[in-house]
Amino acid sequence: MTHPTELTIAGARAALDRREISAVELTRAHLDAIAALNPRLNAYITPTPELAERQAAEADAALARGEGRALTGIPLAIKDLFCTAGTRTTAASRILGNFVPPYESTVTANLLRDGAVFLGKANLDEFAMGSSNTSSAFGAAENPWKRQGEEDTFLVPGGSSGGSAAAVAARLALGATATDTGGSIRQPAAFCGIAGIKPTYGRCSRFGIVAYASSLDQAGPVARTVEDCAILLGSMAGFDPRDSTSADVAVPDFAAAVARGVKGLRIGIPREYRMEGLSPEIDALWQQGMAWLKAEGATLVDISLPHTKYALPTYYIVAPAEASSNLARYDGVRFGLRENGEDLKDLYERTRAAGFGDEVKRRILIGTYVLSAGYYDAYYVKAQQVRALIKRDFDRAWGEVDAILTPATPSAAFGRDEKQDDPVAMYLNDVFTVTANLAGIPGMSVPAGLDAKGLPLGLQILGKPFDEETVFAVGGAIERAAGFNALPTLRAAA
């Protein structure tokens, strides 16, 4: 039989239901893989082997009683941004280094309701701010993929959900939760050769997810197949009265949409995404993706999204503004780190200086500045207006097309020491992904090929609000056409 860590979620479901493997065996195989590889990859900040063993035993008992649910016995990694009752939740920050939530996030509660097993809390950029997972206070996570001939070069897994993506790629989990504010699901999925979807804003509850930029944050899954992403999203999604922006809409059968095909679909190709300096390799992959969809019966339509080039600067006003407000709660009084000071203001300032890393501080300062008296209209209101125009570009496109195809990232995974000197160079990683957050629409990254050095590259599918089904249909078609079966250098049972 296939090694347990090589199974897909759908395959593991079938094997568990047929009693070919027990949940305890499946979980132990992953815990062994974590023990062997996590010291190197640092994909998990906090492995939770005792919790996982207990949940796996409960899963076996439920299966024996005939009470199996969609995820009963499926071992997952949980991004350490989701509050988990009784398990330390750090957001990869020193300021939350000892924080143990007394409550469970809605998304993880939904997964537990459906029987999932939690292997541990996955690494990320501090407060989900970054594209490389290098800003984690618990050390960088490593991409399990290596450039051919450069096996010693430490490549980043992308970010912010770098630990989630690295864990799934290296077979240290069958799937993982992640969050995406500007590309934090799709970019690490592309860098690690796996699939990931950011659903429509409002599809998954934000209750219990450590907030970064509340009007952009959205939870979603990463997994090794499009179908596995659909299975996980089906469990994670759903209306939650505890999140005032949660959408009260039915959760469709996402997994059923994966095999639907693209015959008759109109696929938009936005000309503004063919940016100056676009790498020929990325462009070739994009052309290949178009050819695949055309061969499957889709129609390609040239479209224009004229405000695309303003998306990143808009994001770097809106997101820091919301972050500066959200992160005001870390004051050393009610939870988290405290550094004592001469008076209360000094306590706040010393606590926050000691607790936050450089990138978080930069974003708090930018956000505070753009919201401050005299600059609010010139920066913040202006950005909100441009955001409205970006959304309007998409609203108009939906009159002509059913989904949009773009590259996922402007490059393959880069080295840990590259792009670290200039914050703006790092921000450009999200150039293709950030528009979906600003417009609130779903976006998915699917592994579609390798670059000249053997590193994975992804294609992105964007869809209409609450039409993840079409996104999954297009993602499934690309997955079948690409036949992506390359494997990372570092992985369990390798």
Binding site: P102, S215, T245, P313, R334, L344, L365, Y369, P423
Partner: protein, 95 residues
């Protein structure tokens, strides 16, 4: 618009972030780099465009005005860096 050292110091104080004097020049350069790049937004014609505040299309819901939880004092205080009985403890604020 570009930030001078005094503005960086003022913004850091507003944000309740202690910044050492020695770090101010580096921060000033980084923040000006980011703001300079953001400046391109001024080229967009936004005359009459309604600012987009939220991420979703729906208006925020109203909920019934009633107590939905409570009686969880120990949970609320469980992560306190310092507490005195049922209170969060902080340095003396009023002389």
């Amino acid at each position: 618009m570009s930030l001078d050292t005094a503005t960086v110091r003022r913004v850091a104080s507003l944000a309740r972030l202690r910044v050492e004097e020695a770090d101010l020049p580096r921060l000033e350069a980084e923040l000006n780099g980011i703001l300079g790049w953001i400046e391109q937004l001024q080229a967009v014609d936004t005359q009459g465009v309604e600012p987009m505040a939220g991420g979703g299309a729906e208006a925020l819901r109203m909920r019934e005005d009633r107590v939905t939880d409570g009686g969880i004092q120990e949970k609320v205080l469980a992560n306190a860096p310092d507490r005195a009985d049922a209170f969060f403890a902080v340095p003396k604020v009023v002389e």
